[in-house]
């Protein structure tokens, strides 16, 4: 029997990236009580950069000379501007991008978002890992990975501070409140990583130039087989009734410490509030 060249196995990683209002900017609600995602400066959710980084590290470890072919796809759901999140991931080193964009998606809650993500991931095709960041820096709901895993019928392994893969096995470390745990699971699965997992790389000049040639596919809901009436604000399973700006905290008393006066004044304040 003639031996052919070893065919490298292919591994597919989907990284979820989200375009969010800049946390340092002025964030607002719109009249329909959804988050204003148009009139604010946005960026790739900082927490998702760690997910991109981990995907690229797995690609580098398993890929390389004679290694597996590892393909990293950055996936985002959002308005036109959200493409910036995908572009950033491509500049960092992801291979291709998918941007799901559809007017009907505006105002979707986590439930609908997870539906769109699940359908998009199924359309991307065979995948081994879906990696997301800890939580969007805007909603902090952090339930989308769990909902997505439930929809895909997969385990989710979350809050990883260290990620290792071998064959179809994944091992992660996570620092919980009561214990540090090592978790083992079999791919395919949904993984989320924390900001402790490793500093995200800055795109290099070469990376920025290369990203311009990388493909970004744009899909509508129809492309995913999702009906417009399955998503959006009107079918959300929750409804915001009222959003009130919290009154600014009234400036308190500030004293300068001089020869122990600060501690004394602070102790008196705490005593007046019955803390001591």
């Amino acid at each position: 029997m003639q031996e052919g060249p070893l065919r490298p196995t292919t591994m597919n990683i989907v990284v979820l990236v989200k375009y969010v209002p800049d946390a340092t900017g002025d964030r607002q609600f719109e009249e329909d009580l959804t988050v204003d995602r148009v009139n604010v400066d946005g960026l790739l959710s900082e927490l998702d950069e760690y997910a991109v980084e981990q995907a690229l590290q797995i690609k580098e470890k398993r890929g390389g000379d004679g290694g597996e072919e590892v393909q990293v796809t950055a996936l985002t759901v959002g308005p036109q501007a959200a493409e910036a999140a995908v572009r950033k991931a491509l500049q960092m080193g992801a291979d291709k991008g998918v941007h799901v964009i559809d007017d009907a998606i505006a105002g979707s809650d986590a439930v609908a978002t997870s539906l769109v993500l699940a359908k998009a991931i199924e359309k991307i095709g065979k995948f081994d890992l879906v990696i997301g960041g800890l939580a969007g820096t805007d909603s902090m709901m952090s339930v989308v990975p769990a909902m997505l895993a439930e929809r895909l019928g997969l385990p989710q392994v979350t809050q990883a501070s260290v990620v290792e893969t071998q064959g179809d096995q994944v091992r992660i470390k996570r620092d919980g409140d009561v214990a540090t745990e090592v978790i083992g699971a079999t791919m395919p699965l949904v993984l989320s990583v924390t900001d402790q997992s490793g500093e995200a790389r800055y795109p290099s000049f070469k990376g920025i130039m290369a990203a311009k040639k990388k493909p970004v596919e744009t899909w509508s809901l129809a492309d995913l087989g999702v009906d417009a009436d399955q998503v959006g604000l009107s079918v959300a399973w929750t409804a915001v009734e009222e959003a009130t700006a919290r009154p600014p905290r009234t400036a308190g008393e500030i004293v300068k410490d001089e020869d122990g006066s600060g501690a004394k004044a602070l102790a008196e304040f705490l005593a007046s509030k019955k803390f001591i």
Binding site: P145, P155, E181, T238, V240, G252, K256, A263, L266, I276
Partner: protein, 325 residues
């Protein structure tokens, strides 16, 4: 009255305070039924879970023996809750879970299984004409939002310290539940666990008082810890302190760490960047000690001291200790 399911928060059968807060809230909405997922022998007997939750009004206690599912991640717990919710006639009036990383994942899966709306990190829950209304604090505490679940059974995760636990005698009728867990739910498991060393201090997210340190500590957390112990407080840290390796990540308060909402938050040597504010801005009373009078943290405080924490805190600790004797 309709049943309200409350997932019991516990460590090896020791029930944690947020459970009592949830049972107190559940009584506003209907009849509290507590759900215990744990070792069956921890449920019964004096000082057992059933007796403990009865005191806070649990009319029923569902006991799910976790012998089959211990060590697996959240999926089996979500399946167990979904089955219990399915047993309760028209379905429960609401399902309440304490807000933490694990329960939010359980809640996320549960919402899809039950096709029900989910609200996370509520700071208040009230019964209203059109159903259960929740209050959340969003965008680093800059907005207060009231919301309702409009589909299915409201699934709500509630932040610690959202209600003062009130005792009320409940019937505490035990119902043992045999749940069927799918193989798919058992594909991720804990293979090793290193328990964190007990500090003897209250847990960060549940503490009534939190004393935190940041860059200004220069890595010396002793003045922070001593003040915390004098006040019976938990210790927290800013991201700068954690990134410098001075404190473990589990102490971090802020956007990428814990969100706390104590009665009193004492920020020391912390500038008060938005990332930190996001984790503590809803504290009832905020005080700060910082050398830099321009530090943004002073915009938030009820009382602030411009000074060196290394001299102010030890003096304050002495005053606190003196006031106790």
């Amino acid at each position: 009255m309709a049943e309200v399911l409350v997932l019991i928060d516990h460590v090896d059968g020791a029930v944690k305070k947020p459970t009592y807060e949830l049972l107190t809230i559940a009584r506003r909405l209907g009849e509290p039924s507590a759900v215990f997922i744990g070792a069956a022998d921890q449920a019964a007997g004096p000082g057992g879970v059933v007796e403990t939750v009865k005191k806070y009004g649990a009319e029923k206690v569902y006991v799910v023996d976790d012998a089959q599912i211990k060590g697996y991640l959240v999926a089996p717990k979500a399946e167990a809750l979904a089955q219990i919710a399915g047993q309760a006639g028209d379905g429960p009036a609401a399902i309440l879970l304490p807000s933490n990383a694990e329960t939010k994942e359980i809640a996320g899966r549960l919402a899809i299984k039950l096709e029900s709306g989910l609200i996370t990190d509520a700071v208040d829950v009230a019964a209203g004409d059109g159903g259960v209304t929740t209050t959340q604090s969003v965008f680093a505490g800059n907005f207060t939002v009231t919301a309702k679940v409009t589909k299915g059974t409201p699934i709500i995760t509630v932040k610690p310290n959202s209600a003062a636990p009130e005792e009320a005698a409940g019937a505490g009728v035990v119902e043992e539940v045999a749940v069927t867990i799918s193989d798919a739910a058992k594909t991720a498991q804990i293979v090793a666990s290193q328990p964190r060393k007990a500090s003897g201090r209250p847990e960060l997210t549940e503490a009534a008082i939190v004393v935190s340190g940041g860059r200004g500590t220069g890595g010396n957390f002793e003045p922070i810890e001593k003040l915390a112990d004098a006040l019976g407080a938990a210790v927290g840290a800013s991201r700068a302190a954690v990134d410098s390796g001075w404190m473990p990540h589990s102490f971090q308060v802020g956007q990428t760490g814990k969100t706390v909402s104590p009665q009193l938050y004492v920020a020391n040597g912390i500038s008060g960047a938005i990332q930190h504010r996001a984790g503590m801005q809803t504290s009832k009373t905020i005080v700060a000690v910082n050398k830099d009078e321009e530090a943004p943290i002073f915009e938030l405080v009820d009382f602030g001291v411009v000074g060196d924490l290394h001299t102010v805190l030890p003096a304050l600790t002495d005053l606190v200790n003196a006031s106790k004797s």
